[in-house]
């Protein structure tokens, strides 16, 4: 491992949603659990437990088909809020080791731990520690791959699922990677795999023996990718993602509005949307900005800085409303916008406060409304003022 230019870890939770349900409900353990919805509903399997996989149930399979294969399966709609919270716990563990974390979804992430060995030990040790801590702190199992790049790390985590732990170094490429089917190459889907098989190229090893020109001729730019990946080459960086700087939204009215109450109603709706998006992303902000564009296209923005971070619709609306009252020149409005900035992760601004600064009730209300919207759609519940 000394010679590796980079040390990349891929962590993939085993049957994540189903595993969370089995963890929290002992009655589901050892049983085929299928998350996605009722079998008579349209829709597909989002995750299923390993017990269900023995019946041939797979992710993305129509629920009806899953029911045909596994009529005794336990079908659940899934609780995404809960999975999201568990995912945050897991990501928190990652971030204790490195800031370079690239989550691919709730249950999967790349970590670049190059240079972190001094603090936490060799990359393989870090991988083991993370696997152990996930198991100890969340009661769930993860499969972990450690390698010198993203592609190999992802292949590694997949090799011994569930609860796997595999290390692939540059020297292991021929032995480990080449016997695998071409489908394991990043970017090769069903179609490309079929295409490759037409040339008799069924394993990664065979692809690796093709000259670059040959691949480029047949697959264009994908050919270059196939050439590199089949050799275990991959220089894509772990991308911790663009940091979200602000969350905002604006509305252009169908007709210019002179009625202040109508503008306020629009602000309320925007505040709700912005609050919801903040909560979805686990963020809270401290600066609230109002944007006003008048009929003649003159545009003003006015901001107010709060004492504490907020992700609550009511607070966002209150501030936007006050800014509007203070700055509106009583003429027709063409567009209004509300933006929240100076963001921080919700769990780092969780400093509790005395004397009514806590908005526990409001927070609970917002969470309850979020759950309703998660389940029944964004329009399922709204304020009476916003009914049209």
């Amino acid at each position: 491992m000394e010679g590796w230019a980079r040390k990349i870890i891929h962590v993939d939770m085993d049957a994540f949603f189903a595993a969370v349900e089995q963890r929290d409900n002992p009655g589901l353990r050892g049983k085929p659990v299928i998350i996605g919805g009722r079998p008579d509903q349209r829709g597909v399997v989002s995750t299923c437990s390993y017990e269900a996989r023995q019946f041939g149930v797979r992710s993305a399979m129509p629920l009806r088909e899953a029911f045909r294969r596994c009529p005794n399966g336990i079908f659940l709609p899934g609780n995404h809020k809960k999975y999201w919270a568990v995912s945050r716990e897991i990501q928190k563990i990652f971030r204790e080791y490195t800031p370079l974390v690239e989550p691919l979804s709730l249950d999967e992430a790349f970590l670049d731990v190059t240079g972190c060995e001094g603090l936490f030990g060799p990359a393989v040790e870090i991988g083991k520690q993370i696997k152990d801590r996930i198991s100890r702190e969340t009661g769930l199992t993860a499969s972990v791959g450690v390698a010198c790049n993203k592609f190999l790390a992802k292949v590694a985590s997949d090799l011994e699922k569930p609860s796997g732990f595999v290390v692939i170094g540059p020297k292991d490429v021929e032995r480990v990677l080449w016997p695998l089917p071409v489908r394991r190459i990043w970017g090769v889907g069903e179609k490309t795999a079929l295409h490759l098989s037409e040339f008799g190229w069924t394993t990664i090893g065979i692809v690796a023996q093709q000259p670059l020109a040959n691949l480029k001729e047949r697959f264009g730019s994908l050919g270059e990718q196939l050439y590199a990946l089949a050799r275990g080459w991959d220089d894509r960086p772990v991308n911790p993602g663009r940091e979200v700087k602000s969350v905002g939204n604006e509305t252009t009215f169908a007709r210019d509005i002179e009625d202040g109450d109508k503008v306020k109603a629009a602000l309320l709706e925007l505040a709700q949307e912005v609050g919801r998006r903040l909560r979805k992303q686990g963020l809270a902000g401290r600066v609230i900005t109002l944007k006003l564009r008048y009929a003649d296209f003159t545009t003003i923005t006015r901001a107010e800085t709060l004492v504490e971070h907020t992700d609550w619709d009511g607070e966002i609306y209150r501030v936007a409303h006050d800014l509007f009252i203070k700055n509106w020149d009583q003429t027709a409005v063409r567009l209004v916008g509300v933006t929240v900035s100076k963001l921080a992760p919700r769990d780092e601004v969780g400093q509790l406060a005395f004397f009514g600064q806590n908005r526990e009730k409001e927070e609970k209300l917002a969470e309850a409304l979020d759950r309703v919207r998660d389940k029944f759609g964004e329009k399922a519940v709204t304020r009476a003022r916003l009914l049209k």
Binding site: A85, E96, P99, V307, D347, G350, Q351, F354, F355
Partner: protein, 368 residues
């Protein structure tokens, strides 16, 4: 106006009233200090209209009079004068102020004393005298907990309550709360007094109060006057209702640890080095014989600190802003402190072992 003074006396006067000089006031006269010579004393006065200070020092007056001089330049000059007899002479026509020392002379511009605001004279009806070192110590243990955020003025002040022989000081920024009580000579006119003194005022008081001084406090509806030796400080009070602090003090605890203040402070200082920028979160887990403090920042590193404790009650864990703990540990005079916890979302209580008069509440950080 003409007088002779020692450098030491001039410097004392300048240093004391400098604290009240307006730094960001649009009125130019307030960037100056008024000096008034009468009856062999020189009185220095400065105010920013929130707070005013007067300080009187002995001098030899040849001719009475007064002038307003630039606080900044006059104090810089005084600081650099040689330690010999100083002569101060003001030309009443143009307020030009001459400072003579040995064979040298400095002349600085002055302003008309007529333009300087007059500090209000308070009726001494409601007064009380407090021992200077007690008052200073009480302020030291409480004032730091006040907020610096002006959007909620109440919390930028320190609540002062007098009830019979009991004086209480309370301050909170809503994340932590410091409470200290002390015994004073009872004052009949002052029963059930409750006022909010601006945090800046009270910290200035603690700085200018000597160990052996007595502080006399006089209250009116909107103002408070502090008299300490040769100094008078008058300040507005903060209007409003201080929240009922008693209701946030937890009754009882599930875990109580006893720890050496110095060990706790030093561990916390090291742990705070490894916190994420802007968050200062440290995690404390309490076990039978030890308190483990951890923090980590992926960009810097991490720390694990173990401190010996005596635990009474349950093992537990909680997260705090390290700054709030450091603040209290720095002012807890006793060798040991108690930390009392109920659960990870309830306030922790810090109190010195052997001092019933001090209490510090600190709210935890909710972590996912």
């Amino acid at each position: 106006m003409k007088l002779y003074a020692s450098r030491e006396n001039l410097l004392h006067g300048v240093n004391i009233v400098q604290r009240a000089v307006a730094t960001k006031n649009p009125l130019p006269i307030l960037s100056g200090m008024l000096i008034t010579a009468e009856d062999n004393t020189l009185k220095f006065t400065a105010t920013d209209l929130e707070m005013g200070i007067e300080c009187t020092v002995p001098v030899t007056v040849v001719e009475q009079g007064s002038v307003v001089v630039s606080a900044r330049y006059f104090s810089e000059v005084v600081r650099r004068l040689p330690d010999i007899r100083i002569e101060l002479e003001v030309n009443p026509n143009n307020h030009s102020t001459n400072i003579r020392y040995g064979q040298s002379e400095i002349s600085i511009h002055g302003m008309s004393p007529e333009d300087f605001p007059i500090l209000p004279q308070l009726d001494r009806e409601k007064s009380v005298t407090i021992n200077g070192s007690l008052f200073r110590n009480m302020i030291k243990q409480v004032a730091f907990a006040a907020s610096s955020d002006n959007s909620r003025p109440i919390f930028t002040g320190v609540l002062l309550e007098i009830n019979g022989e009991q004086l209480k000081l309370v301050a909170t920024d809503t994340h932590r709360l410091a409470f200290r009580s002390g015994k004073i000579a009872s004052s009949q006119n002052l029963d059930n007094l409750s006022v909010i003194i601006p945090g800046k005022t009270i910290s200035e008081i603690s700085k200018i109060t000597g160990e052996d001084s007595q502080v006399q406090l006089t209250f009116t509806e909107n103002q408070v006057l502090f008299e300490i030796d040769n100094i008078c400080l008058i300040s507005r009070l903060i209007n409003g209702q201080f929240p009922n602090y008693n209701q946030v003090v937890p009754q009882g605890y599930k875990s109580r640890i006893r720890v050496k203040s110095k060990d706790f402070l030093e561990s916390m200082e090291r742990a705070s080095l490894m916190t994420k920028e802007g968050s200062s979160v440290v995690k404390i887990s309490i076990e039978e014989l030890s308190m483990n403090i951890t923090s980590n920042s992926p960009d810097i590193g991490r720390i694990y600190e173990q401190v010996q404790i005596y635990l009474e009650g349950e093992e537990t864990s909680i997260s705090f802003n390290s700054r709030y703990l450091l603040d209290v540990l720095k002012v807890a005079d006793d060798e040991e402190v108690y930390l009392e916890l109920t659960d990870s979302l309830s306030p922790g209580i810090v109190k010195p072992v052997g001092n019933e008069n001090y209490l510090y509440l600190i709210l935890p950080i909710r972590t996912l």
